[in-house]
Each structure stands twice: as structure tokens, then as C-alpha cells.
Chain length 323, copies 2
């Protein structure tokens, strides 16, 4: 049995077909342009489904979709996606009509966590947090071996852990969220603010003076080149991440925390710095159970997780019918 | 089937017998004096067991024990209890020898959460946090309808959520934990510090100038009498509690948060203040699933939960044998 996974984010659409041993076939990715009207992206999805299903791969039994934003997984509706500009889009129903296949939808980062749990850095781990740091900070929890939904399916918003009650305002409206202190835009702003205030840094040179081009990959190059400012700022982000991690460790006593996403891929030293601060702040007993690792998958984790989400739903249904 | 529950804390020992419909019989409580040597408290427990089991109540099938501190539930060992002064006490083994009954041990506040879930404010709620505020702040999580242990059984340390990365030092060594900002001693210290710095308050009068006698109950009387300082300080504690609650809501998307413990019993207005700040800071989607309520049980929640913990263990064993 194979299933098809789609990952819909604010800047890209990705898709692929997953075998039940976790082999990802025909992985592909396209840029998307967010708009309040979902039709353009739906047309892109239709084209991608055409390619992925079109070569007679009749063994695809279901489609799983990870989508940025708040999802009502029961109905497969995108309630609100700030990244895509969508509100109340009945995504599962639309894609089911397109494909004549069962379609399951959930939050993109939750499903990426599922992918890491099944085939990546979380294999065999019953209690884990997966934290993805990019433009935002999202996450997913696997507790007692199962993806944890919470009361309404919204569990896992690790980026909106308050680290500093009077800290900077976050995109969610709250103050001092981890996302406002350690996501890509926060890190980039800390660097460009310092440069604008006169700090000398290799970063200015690397972007040819265009401070709007500062990005995690640039900071990585600057750190390699020995830049003090870049190291300092990434250190601070790692510090805040470690503060939040200690709260999660004390609350949930996880066996593993997995860190991934674009910022972590470019700046893997975040892991070491965060773990240092997390160790300093966590209670001894839950700390003794903890390890921290980098995500196994890169950008494709969302597609893997989404396809596996559909796989599991089909398997449950078959099992229920048999019983 | 009835089971016996014991609740061992830093200042009191409580016990009682629970019927399987949740009726608590013969509830009793004694003062204890913590010491590194557990023998004195063990002798008190033996006496209490004698009374509770001695009247021929032969239908008691097991003993559940909630104990303050870090517990290895598998072996029933108290690894470390700062409140009791204990390290590595094989509590289950000792009590099993005393009573000739199966003995199950876990953290006192975790088991209080179980009691609230089964017979109290959490009945029928699948995803909930229980937060007990007293000398410390402890808690328990019920997720997917089950008491959540985490990787090593230490999940639920809600009091060690960092609210302020550079805040006051907590008893655990970390900075800015909720416990260091909103537990009984923190609240009392804020009041007495202000009075020592010249603030006029009804509190001084109520304790006859003995600032070491300031306690949640005194603050409650002061607030009733219109005291501004007491209201201000309790408001601040509620605020910090609300900040932490928002992080839990975003991370876990619980259906209910239950607040209990001595400080909350004396100062129930904490709930309203905390909820206000939690509402302001939480993401809209998980907030829509949330309600907050006061604990149903008073001090007896630990005994109820401990007895039910033993009840469940016996039931699982009988079920496993039958299968």
C-alpha cells in the first residue's frame, strides 16, 4: 500500500508518494503565492496530483495533507492559516472531489513530527517533542507512542511558550513567546538592529550592505568566518530555546526533543547551545531521561508525515471493518 | 472492592479507605515531622494502617500512596523528597511488609490529579491539567483519559515552568519558575517585603506585627477588609499563573485546567485573575476549547487519588490474569 503526501506552506507546495516501508518516491516541490482566494493553489495541487497519480500508480490508497495553520482535522477544514491567507477552506472535501480518494488533513508541523516519529529521529521513542524552527516555530507532540491532538487538535504550539512575560510582541499578539525571540525573523532582526546601531559585522559584507537579505544561511557563513555578532545572536536564540525546553522537560518529561526546520538546518549549533541552557534549568529527574537530536528529514518531513497520516487512517479503517 | 489511600507530605500524613463508587471512609490526618531518617514517619504510618485496616475491613485489596517528591513508581521508591528530607526510601516494599497487601506509590500531586479526574472537577474530561498551589506548585496531567507519566514518571512539574528567564531563583535552582513567583512563600514574601519597605497594610495589623505569620488565609482576610497591598500581590501571582497557563494551553490544548491547593482554597480569586491573563495570551483556537475550574476536593484529594491508583492497578492485574 502506498499513500500520497502533500505539504502546503506559505511559500511552497511539496508532494510525494510513500511506500509502507517509508520510501519516498517522486518527491517534488513548487513555489506558491499565498492569497485569500485558495483557487490558484488548489489548481497547483490538482496539477501536482495529476503528475503523482497519473502514471497509473493505482496502488495509492489515500492522500494525507499537512497544511500550515489551524486545522479542524475531523472535517479536513483549514480554519485559519495566516501564512496562506486562508480562512475556512474545506480542503479535504475539495481534494477528495479532485482525486476520488480519501483525504486527511492536519497541521503541517504536527505531521512532520509524525514523520520523524515513524521514520526519522524519533523511531521507537514513545514520548517526544518535535520543534521546527523557521519563519515561525511550530511543533508536534508524540505521547505514549501516539501523535497527541489535545482537546481540539491544536496541541503542539511550542513556539507560543512564553519565555519572558514582558518580552517583545509576537505575531500571535502575546508578549515574549519563544517565536518572537528565536525564530528566523527574530534572529535576523537582532542582527540587523545591531548593525544599524553601528556594530561591525561580517554579515554586512556578506549581504553587500542589503540588510533585508540577512538570513540564517548568511549567519552560518558569518559564524564560520569568525563573526562575533552572528555568534552572539545565535547564542541568544539558543539560550531562549533552552529556557523553553526546560519548561517542556519539567512539564512533560519527554524522552527526546527533536529540533528541525530551516533555521536549525543552517545553524545546527543552536542545538548545543539550547541543550546547555536546558540542562542548567531542568529538574534533575526528568533531565536524566532526556536526549536531544537533530531532525532526520529536511524539508521533506512534512510530506513523509502527511502520507503516513493517511496510511494510518486507512489501516485503522480496514481494521475497524475487519472487527 | 475498597482500597486504602495514604498521602505523605512534608507537614502531614493523611489516610482513608475508598469504595469503588468514590466514597471516602475513615479519613484521618496527623502532623508529621520530616527527618532524613524515615523510621518515625514509617511508625506513624504503621499506626494509621493499624487503625484503618484493624477493624476487620478485610475487603481492602491494596494500598495506594501519594508521596511528595520524585518517585520511581515502578519500584515504589522515593528517590528524593526535599519536603520529607528523604532519599532512596523503598516505601512500597516497607509498607507491603507491614500490611501484607500490594502497595503502589507515586507522586502526591499526580495522584491528587487522578482523584480529581475520577471523582472531582475532572470527571469525564479526557485532556486536563491539575495545578496545586501551596508551599510549592505541583501538578498532574491527564491526557487521552489517562494519567500521563512521561518517560520516567516525572511529568506534571507545572511549577517549574519558566515565566521570566531572568526572574527570582527557585528552590530547584532555576530562575523565574512559576513556583518562585506564585506559590505561597513567594506571595507571602512579596507582602512582607513591601511592608518592611514601608507600605501600610491591614496585613500587619492582622498578624499583630509578626510578619513571619503572614499566610494565604491572612491575605484573604486583608482583601475582604479592602487592603490594597494584599489585592495587588495576589493579583500579581494570578498574573504569573495566567502567563504559565497560556503556555500550557498553547502546548497541550487541554479541555480543562483545575486549580487547587491551600493557596487557591484561601484565595479563590486567583482563578479569575489567572484566567483573565491566560485568555489575553493564549492562541484563539486552543483557548476556545478551554475551561478553568476550582478543584472539587480539599486536602483529601491526595488520599482519594492514591486509593484510586491502587484500585486501578488491582483491576488491571485481575483483567490481565483473566485474559
Amino acid at each position: 500500500m502506498t499513500t500520497l503526501g502533500l505539504d502546503i506552506g506559505g511559500t511552497k507546495l511539496a508532494g510525494g508518494v510513500l511506500t509502507d516501508t517509508g520510501e519516498l518516491l517522486d518527491y517534488q516541490t513548487q513555489l506558491v503565492h499565498p492569497s485569500h482566494d485558495p483557487e490558484r493553489i488548489l489548481a497547483q495541487i490538482q496539477a501536482m496530483l495529476g503528475i503523482l497519480l497519473g502514471d497509473g500508480r493505482s496502488e495509492v490508497t489515500a492522500i494525507g495533507v499537512g497544511c500550515a495553520g489551524q486545522i479542524d482535522a475531523k472535517s479536513g477544514t483549514v480554519l485559519y492559516s495566516p501564512n496562506l491567507g486562508w480562512r475556512d477552506v474545506p480542503l479535504a472535501a475539495r481534494l477528495a472531489k479532485m482525486s476520488k480518494l480519501p483525504v486527511l488533513v492536519d497541521n503541517d508541523v504536527k505531521l512532520a513530527a509524525l514523520g520523524e516519529h515513524q521514520f526519522g529521529a524519533g523511531r521507537g521513542i514513545d514520548d517526544m517533542l518535535c520543534v521546527m524552527i523557521g519563519t515561525g516555530i511550530g511543533g508536534g507532540l508524540v505521547l505514549n507512542g501516539q501523535l497527541y491532538d489535545g482537546a481540539g487538535g491544536f496541541a503542539g504550539e511550542v513556539g507560543h511558550t512564553t519565555v519572558q512575560w514582558d518580552g517583545p510582541v509576537c505575531s500571535c499578539g502575546n508578549r515574549g513567546c519563544l517565536e518572537a525571540l528565536a525564530a528566523g525573523p527574530a534572529i535576523e532582526r537582532m542582527v540587523t538592529d545591531a548593525i544599524r546601531h553601528g556594530r561591525v559585522s561580517l554579515v554586512s559584507e556578506l549581504v553587500g550592505g542589503h540588510l533585508d537579505r540577512v538570513h540564517a544561511s548568511v549567519l552560518a557563513s558569518a559564524i564560520k568566518g569568525g563573526d562575533v555578532l552572528a555568534r552572539e545572536v545565535v547564542g541568544r536564540a539558543g539560550y531562549y530555546l533552552g529556557v523553553a525546553m526546560a519548561s517542556w522537560v519539567n512539564l512533560l518529561n519527554p524522552q527526546r526533543i527533536i529540533l528541525g526546520g530551516g533555521v536549525v538546518r543552517h545553524l545546527p549549533q543552536l542545538l548545543e547551545l539550547a541543550l546547555q541552557e536546558c540542562r542548567r534549568r531542568s529538574l534533575r529527574a526528568p533531565l536524566a531521561n532526556l536526549d536531544v537530536s537533530l531532525a532526520h528529514f529536511g524539508r521533506e518531513s512534512g510530506v513523509v508525515g502527511a502520507a503516513w497520516f493517511a496510511h494510518e487512517a486507512v489501516r485503522r479503517k480496514v481494521k475497524a471493518k475487519a472487527a
